[in-house]
């Protein structure tokens, strides 16, 4: 990925977003089901229904609805949620930090676990114990995050009740924070007791999200470590008498990192998508949990806002990964 290519990708972002917007809008309009029917009390008159329809712009022709909606979205107005009756953007901004923090903690856990597993695996290379590491990685990879969520909930929430299984923080804790980035803000301002309470709640859902991703990181990194170790420069270093762990850490690891970030980085989007169910399972108050409620209530404005929010995060992540790869790889840096 050269800089020019990166710019080309950046230019492609608006059309992709537009495509996403069109698909979401069309999808939600062509299917049967009336959101107004869900919000009217029984016995509402035709005139009342008509007024509600006009209030949410559902009486306009579909193209005009789309144009209006797109214009509003472009100016930061995502409309009003039908089920919660609040501004969609405000709802998103209130809940989004919870999801971002969860995904961030999960990614950190996954990278740490994955790197350690890969290094252990490569040190055991060729021995029988390598099979144990590979097998473990295979099992972690085969079971998706939401099943890990259920398994962890049963194991460490119920059978051995070590950790809480619902919510973002205990209700009796007085947070008194300014932003909705509870964890980041409490760490930055030195409120470590609050940060600890938040992490206490976050650890099970984050671990559930992290396990399959850690396995993926481990598999990718181990494969490219093995490949790099067989290259001439590593052999030469070995011949000159450097120890194997030292070569692995100082020579091989930096080179093996590039393909791992390139291939694995994109998969962070999967982790982000996984938050939807994991948040649901742990009653965690992020946008994933909200998305399921929005769908069940056929809350069109909220669904559209949420899907767009997810799409923006996906695209941003992809670009970020490309950027990191470009900066890591000396050949591409000067390309």
């Amino acid at each position: 990925m050269r800089w020019g290519e990166l710019i080309r990708r950046l230019v492609l972002v608006p059309p992709t977003l537009f495509g996403v917007a069109v698909i979401v809008f069309v999808l939600l309009r062509i299917v049967p089901g009336d959101p107004i029917a869900m919000m009217i009390p029984p016995g509402a008159s035709e005139a009342d229904i008509g007024r509600l329809r006009a209030l949410y712009g559902l009486d306009q022709p579909i193209l005009q609805q789309f144009a209006t909606w797109l214009g509003q979205v472009a100016s930061g107005d995502f409309g009003r949620s039908i089920s919660v009756r609040q501004n969609v953007l405000e709802l998103l901004l209130a809940r989004l930090p919870a999801t971002i923090e969860l995904a961030l903690v999960a990614t950190i856990i996954a990278v740490l676990l994955g790197v350690v597993a890969a290094l252990v695996g490569i040190l055991l290379r060729g021995r029988r114990a390598e099979w144990v590491v590979d097998g473990g990685i295979g099992v972690l990879l085969a079971i998706p995050d939401f099943l890990w969520a259920l398994i962890l909930l049963l194991l460490f929430g119920v059978l051995i009740p070590l950790l809480p299984i619902s919510g973002r923080v205990d209700p009796e804790i007085d947070l008194n924070l300014h932003s909705n980035f509870f964890l980041i803000e409490s760490i930055l301002t030195g409120h470590f007791d609050i940060a600890f309470a938040l992490l206490h709640h976050m650890i099970l859902p984050a671990l559930a999200l992290a396990l399959p991703f850690a396995a993926l990181v481990a598999r990718l990194l181990k494969a490219s470590l093995a490949e790099s170790e067989d290259q001439d420069y590593a052999q030469v270093a070995r011949a000159r008498g450097y120890s194997r762990p030292s070569i692995l850490l100082h020579e091989v690891f930096p080179n093996a990192l590039i393909p791992t970030v390139a291939l694995g980085g994109v998969q962070v989007t999967l982790l982000l998508g996984g938050t939807v169910l994991v948040e649901r399972i742990f009653s965690y108050e992020g946008i994933g949990n909200m998305a399921i409620d929005a769908v069940i209530n056929r809350d069109f404005p909220l669904i559209q806002g949420l899907v767009l929010a997810f799409a923006v995060m996906f695209i941003a992540l992809n670009l970020l990964v490309d950027l990191v790869v470009t900066m890591l790889d000396p050949r591409l840096r000067h390309g």
């Binding site: 089901g33 259920l150 299984i165 998508g273 169910l277 399921i292 769908v295 899907v307």
Partner: protein, 295 residues
């Protein structure tokens, strides 16, 4: 050229055997697990000791028979309405297998058609199909299937439709790339030299070479379809309320997880066994069938 073709035709049986040996225990473990799942699904009325919907409120939330307080007529215990957990698990397998078979096949049909098309025509056809796949994959798949199932409405058909609409890209992407690779091979060039039309080339030469890949993709996709069905029924937007599904059992179990953890644990065990079985089976088949992996 003809010699090569004849040799290739003659080789399969012995090569297949070698492949089966090479794929090792993976294929066999997978095959046994998949067979168990299929048997449970097909013969659900035979295996299930009770009607999965029959309520017995006098014996609600019984633990499995081997635990204290268990009842031997309810081998795996009962749920909060006194329904037999074992019977519900078996009937849920039926729903899961049905969804998996139909959804994976349909997704494969669409994905293979578009993938072949994009991979063999190239140019603007390839460009537009690839772009479509890109935009499609910009959605979180889980969220997209939840949205789809919710807007189409509850029911088996909508679950299947949601899976097909989301997952055809998995087939399309891989088949497109593999078609391109196969078209650069000598045999494809040879077929074009002897004047095979593009349609016949694709049907007679390329498609048979895609079969190993396709079988693996199908097995993996069935596993994914089972998981999506579980997700949708867990969220509560899958089949009608009285059809037993693993996902709805998990959702019910989550409510009383402190009182009766086995209600949530047992369907999870079933799901994991099925998905791992399908993955092993697919992996094993690929090793057994794919000439490149084999050598």
């Amino acid at each position: 050229m003809a010699d090569i073709a004849i040799a290739a035709l003659a080789a399969p049986p012995s090569r297949l055997l070698a492949g089966l040996r090479r794929s090792g225990p993976r294929l066999w473990i997978g095959a046994v697990l998949v067979a168990l799942l299929m048997l449970a699904a097909i013969f659900a009325p035979v295996f299930a000791p009770h009607d999965p919907l029959e309520q017995d409120l006098m014996s609600a939330q019984l633990p499995p028979a081997w635990m204290t307080g268990g009842d031997h007529t309810y081998l795996l215990g009962t749920d909060s309405l006194g329904r037999c957990v074992l019977s519900r698990l078996i009937y849920s397998a039926r729903t899961a297998v049905m969804v998996a078979l139909i959804a994976a096949t349909l997704a494969a049909l669409i994905g293979v058609a578009l993938g072949l098309f994009a991979g063999s025509f190239g140019g603007w056809v390839d460009q537009s199909i690839s772009r479509l796949i890109d935009v499609w994959m910009a959605f979180p798949p889980v969220l997209l299937s939840i949205v789809l199932a919710a807007v189409i409405g509850a029911g088996l058909t909508s679950v299947i439709a949601a899976i097909v609409v989301v997952d055809w890209t998995r087939f399309a992407r891989v088949i497109r790339a593999e078609t391109m690779v196969q078209l650069t091979r000598d045999y494809a060039a040879a077929a074009q030299v002897i004047g095979l039309s593009r349609a016949r080339l694709l049907r007679l030469e390329i498609l048979p070479n895609l079969v190993p890949l396709l079988v693996t993709l199908l097995a993996v996709e069935m596993g994914i379809a089972i998981l999506v069905e579980v997700i949708l029924s867990f969220v509560g937007i899958s089949v009608a309320g009285d059809t037993p599904t693993w996902g709805s059992m998990i959702a019910e179990g989550r409510q009383i997880v402190y009182q009766a953890p086995w209600i949530m644990a047992l369907p999870i065990v079933c799901i994991i066994t099925s998905v791992i079985g399908l993955n092993l089976f697919g992996d094993g088949l690929r090793l057994a069938l794919d000439p490149v992996q084999r050598s």
